[in-house]
C-alpha cells in the first residue's frame, strides 16, 4: 500500500547536551525565523538563519547574541523564558532551531502551535517555573560546556549537582517516550474509521469521501 510504515520513529525518552540561554518573554516565531527566509520550498538550510536578525546586523556582521558565541556552538539544549514561539504557526521556526543543533528546549512556557510543531519533530518542550529557569540560564552561562540531562519519562532535568522537577505535557511525554510522535502512520491505520466519521457528518458530500483502499 504505502511506504509510511517504513518511517522509523525513534523513542525520545532522554536528551542530553550543553545548553544555550535565550532570554526574554514572548519571543515570537518571526524572531526565530524572519519571514524573508521562508521563501523556500524545503526546510533544508534554515539552520543558519535561526534568530538571524538578532544575530546579525544589516551588513551581516555578527551581533552580541548567545548563538554567535564560540562557547555555545555545540549546544543542543535551549533554555528560554515564557510564551516562547508565539505568533505565526510556521514550522520553519523549530526546523531552523533543530537544524542549528537544538534537540530539546526547556522553558517557562511555550506557545501551543510551536510546542506541537516541536513534538512533530521529536523535540521535547519541557517547562519549569520562572525562578528555576533563571537559575538554569545562569548556570548555563557559567558552565557553557556543562551537561544538561533531560529525563523525559521521569520529568526531571539534571545539571551539575542539581536535579529539578519539570513538566512534560502528558500526551507529549507518551508520544516521545513510546516513539509515536510522528502520527501519520498511526492515524493512517485508522483510515476506515476516518471514512466512517466523514459519512456521519451531514456537511461532507459523498463524492468527497474516497473509496476504501
Amino acid at each position: 500500500m504505502s511506504g509510511s510504515d517504513e518511517v522509523e520513529i525513534p523513542e525520545v525518552d532522554y536528551v542530553s547536551g550543553s545548553g544555550v540561554p535565550i532570554r526574554g518573554n514572548d519571543i515570537d516565531t518571526d524572531q526565530i525565523i524572519p519571514a524573508r527566509f521562508m521563501k523556500v520550498v524545503t526546510f533544508d538550510g534554515l539552520g543558519e538563519f535561526a534568530f538571524f536578525d538578532l544575530r546579525f546586523d544589516d551588513d551581516d556582521n555578527p551581533k552580541d547574541h548567545p548563538m554567535n558565541e564560540d562557547r555555545f556552538q555545540d549546544s543542543s539544549v535551549m533554555v528560554v523564558n515564557s510564551n516562547f514561539g508565539c505568533g505565526s504557526s510556521r514550522e520553519h521556526a523549530p526546523q531552523a532551531l533543530m537544524r542549528w543543533g537544538i534537540d530539546a528546549i526547556i522553558g517557562e512556557s511555550f506557545a501551543e502551535i510551536f510546542a506541537g510543531n516541536c513534538l512533530a519533530l521529536g523535540i521535547p518542550t519541557v517547562t519549569a517555573d520562572s525562578e528555576t529557569i533563571q537559575e538554569l540560564q545562569d548556570w548555563v552561562d557559567a558552565n557553557p560546556d556543562g551537561e544538561i540531562e533531560i529525563d523525559v519519562e521521569a520529568e526531571e532535568v539534571t545539571y551539575g549537582d542539581t536535579t529539578i522537577d519539570v513538566t512534560v505535557d502528558e500526551a507529549q511525554r507518551k508520544a516521545l517516550v513510546e516513539g509515536v510522535w510522528d502520527t501519520t502512520a498511526l492515524m493512517k491505520s485508522n483510515a476506515d474509521a476516518v471514512r466512517e466519521k466523514a459519512k456521519e457528518l451531514p456537511y461532507v458530500d459523498d463524492e468527497a469521501i474516497p473509496e476504501a483502499e
Binding site: F43, W181, M187, K197
Partner: protein, 473 residues
C-alpha cells in the same frame, strides 16, 4: 471541564478515536492550503509514497508571496515564482481546487474560505497558518497547524490533538463611534495577555458580539491566537445564516442550506453550557485601541497614557522596556500624535469590504499627508472588485492611497510591500512584532481601519472620533 459548548459538540462529532498518546484523532472537514507552509508537506508525502486522502475537502490559494502590483507570470522575484509553481504542480497532481489569481477568486486564505461558503458552522477547519482561528466566526472549530500536521491532514484527513479548555468571553454593551471589533479583541488581549489563552479555546458571546456583522466577528476570532488561544469562535445565528445563504456553495446547492441548518443549530453552545472560565468585558467603556509596543498585548486606549514598565506585572516589565525603546515612546504620554510614515490598510484581520468602507468614509474629501506612504490591499479579488464597483478605489486613489491587488502584503513583508529602515506604520494588521513588516528597525502601530485612515490623512496617530466630529459639523 467544559460541557455542552460548541467546542465540545464539534469535537465529539469529529472524534475518530483516542490515540495511544491520549490525543484524539479528529476528522478534518476543510483543509486550506497556501504556498508557504504546504510545499514541504507535499515533499514529505512523496518521500513516504503517500497520496492526498481527501482532495475534495482541500482548497488552495496563493496569498503570502503573491505580488500586489504586477501579477503577470513569471513573477519578478524568482523565489516567489518558484513557490507559486510548486503549489500549482502540487494541486494539479492531487486534484485540489485552487483559487489562483486567474479565477478572480484569489485572496488571503481567511478571506476566501468564508466568501465561497467553504467555511461553515460545525466544520473542523485547519490551515498551516495561525490566523485560521478567523473561521471560528462562523461557529467552526478552526485552528492553525504546522507543516508536519499538514502532512498528517493531507495523508489521513485527520489530525492528532488534545482537547482544550473553553473560556467564554462575554462582551456586553454597545460600541461607541469609531470603536469596532478590532478594538474589542485588542482590549481582550491587553487584559488577558499574549499567553492568557494558552490551553484555551475562546468563545466570544454577548450583545456586542451578536450585534457585529460577520466581518467584525472574523476580525475578533482572527486575533484569538495573538492572545495565545489557538481557536476562537462565535455561535452561529441569523447573521451567520444570512451570510452563508449568499455564498457560492449555497447558491449552487440551495437544498443544502435547509439540510444543514438543523446541524448548525444543534452544535451551538447550550444555554446551560459549562465553561472552564468566564470573562466579562463592557464594550461601552472602550475607546479606539492602539498598540504602543511590540506585542499585540501592549495596547492602550488612544487617549490613555502609555503605561510605565514598573507599573506592569513583573514578568511583563522587561519586554515592555525593550518595546518602548524600540518604538521610541515614553510612559505617561499618549499614542496620539505619534508620527507615522506608512499607512497599511490590509490583512486577514481587516481587509474586507466593510473595513474598506469605514476607512473610505474618513478618507473622503481629505488628502493623505505629504510624508505618508498609504496603501490599500484588499483581502481578496472579490473584495477588490466589489470595492471598485462601489467607487471606493476612486475615493482612496483621489486621496493619495495606492490601490493594490489582493494578498497578505505588508502584514508580514514576504512580498515587495515592506517597511524600510525605521519607518513607523499605522497598520490594520494583527502583529506588531519587531521585524514583522519587513524591516527590523520598523515600528508597527496596530489599530482599526478607520484609525489607519485617520493616521494616513494627518500623518500621526489620531483619534478618529475627532475627525468624525469635524465631518458631522
Amino acid at each position: 471541564m467544559s460541557e455542552g459548548t460548541l467546542y465540545d459538540k464539534v469535537w465529539d462529532r469529529h472524534k475518530v478515536t483516542t490515540l495511544p498518546t491520549g490525543q484524539d484523532q479528529l476528522f478534518i472537514g476543510l483543509h486550506l492550503i497556501h504556498e508557504v507552509t504546504s510545499p514541504q508537506a507535499f515533499g514529505m508525502l512523496r518521500e513516504r509514497d503517500l497520496e492526498v486522502a481527501y482532495p475534495k475537502l482541500t482548497h488552495a490559494t496563493v496569498d503570502h508571496i503573491v505580488p500586489t502590483s504586477d501579477q503577470s507570470r513569471p513573477y519578478e522575484e524568482d523565489a516567489a515564482e518558484e513557490m507559486m509553481s510548486e503549489l500549482e504542480e502540487n494541486v494539479r497532481e492531487a486534484g485540489i481546487e485552487f483559487s489562483d489569481p486567474t479565477t478572480g477568486d484569489q485572496g488571503i486564505v481567511h478571506v476566501i474560505g468564508p466568501e465561497q461558503g467553504l467555511t461553515q458552522p460545525g466544520k473542523t477547519i485547519v490551515c498551516g497558518d495561525s490566523h485560521t482561528s478567523t473561521h471560528g466566526a462562523f461557529g467552526a472549530l478552526a485552528f492553525g497547524i504546522g507543516t508536519s500536521q499538514i502532512r498528517d491532514v493531507l495523508a489521513t484527513g485527520s489530525v492528532a490533538m488534545e482537547k482544550q479548555k473553553v473560556r467564554k468571553i462575554q462582551v456586553d454593551g454597545e460600541l461607541g463611534e469609531g470603536v469596532e471589533a478590532k478594538d474589542i479583541i485588542l482590549e481582550i488581549i491587553r487584559r488577558l495577555g499574549t499567553e492568557g489563552g494558552v490551553g484555551y479555546v475562546y468563545e466570544y458571546a454577548g450583545e456586542a458580539i451578536e450585534n457585529l456583522n460577520m466581518e467584525g466577528r472574523m476580525s475578533i476570532c482572527n486575533m484569538s491566537i495573538e492572545g495565545g488561544a489557538r481557536a476562537g469562535y462565535v455561535n452561529p445565528d441569523e447573521t451567520t445564516y444570512e451570510w452563508l445563504e449568499e455564498t457560492d456553495y449555497f447558491q449552487e446547492n440551495p437544498e443544502k442550506f435547509d439540510e444543514l441548518k438543523p446541524y448548525w443549530e444543534s452544535i451551538a453552545s447550550d444555554e446551560d453550557a459549562e465553561y472552564d472560565d468566564v470573562v466579562h468585558i463592557d464594550a461601552s467603556e472602550l475607546e479606539p485601541v492602539v498598540t504602543w509596543g511590540t506585542t499585540p498585548g501592549q495596547g492602550v486606549g488612544v487617549t490613555e497614557p502609555i503605561p510605565a514598565p514598573e507599573d506592569l506585572p513583573a514578568e511583563k516589565q522587561d519586554t515592555a522596556r525593550r518595546a518602548q525603546e524600540h518604538m521610541r515612546v515614553e510612559p505617561g504620554e499618549t499614542m496620539e500624535g505619534y508620527d507615522i510614515d506608512v499607512a497599511f490598510l490590509g490583512s486577514c484581520t481587516n481587509a474586507r469590504l466593510p473595513d474598506l468602507r469605514r476607512a473610505a468614509e474618513i478618507v473622503e474629501g481629505r488628502q493623505v499627508d505629504d510624508d505618508v506612504r498609504a496603501m490599500v490591499v484588499p483581502g481578496s479579488q472579490r473584495v477588490q472588485a466589489a470595492a471598485e464597483e462601489e467607487g471606493l478605489k476612486d475615493t482612496f486613489e483621489e486621496a493619495g492611497f495606492e490601490w493594490r491587488n489582493a494578498g497578505c502584503s505588508m502584514c508580514l513583508g514576504m512580498n515587495e510591500d515592506q517597511l524600510e529602515g525605521d519607518e513607523a506604520s499605522a497598520s490594520s494588521s494583527n502583529r506588531n512584532f519587531v521585524g514583522r513588516q519587513g524591516s527590523k528597525e520598523g515600528r508597527t502601530v496596530l489599530m482599526n481601519p478607520q484609525m489607519v485612515a485617520a493616521a494616513a490623512v494627518t500623518g500621526e496617530v489620531t483619534d478618529v472620533r475627532d475627525l468624525q466630529e469635524v465631518t458631522v459639523a
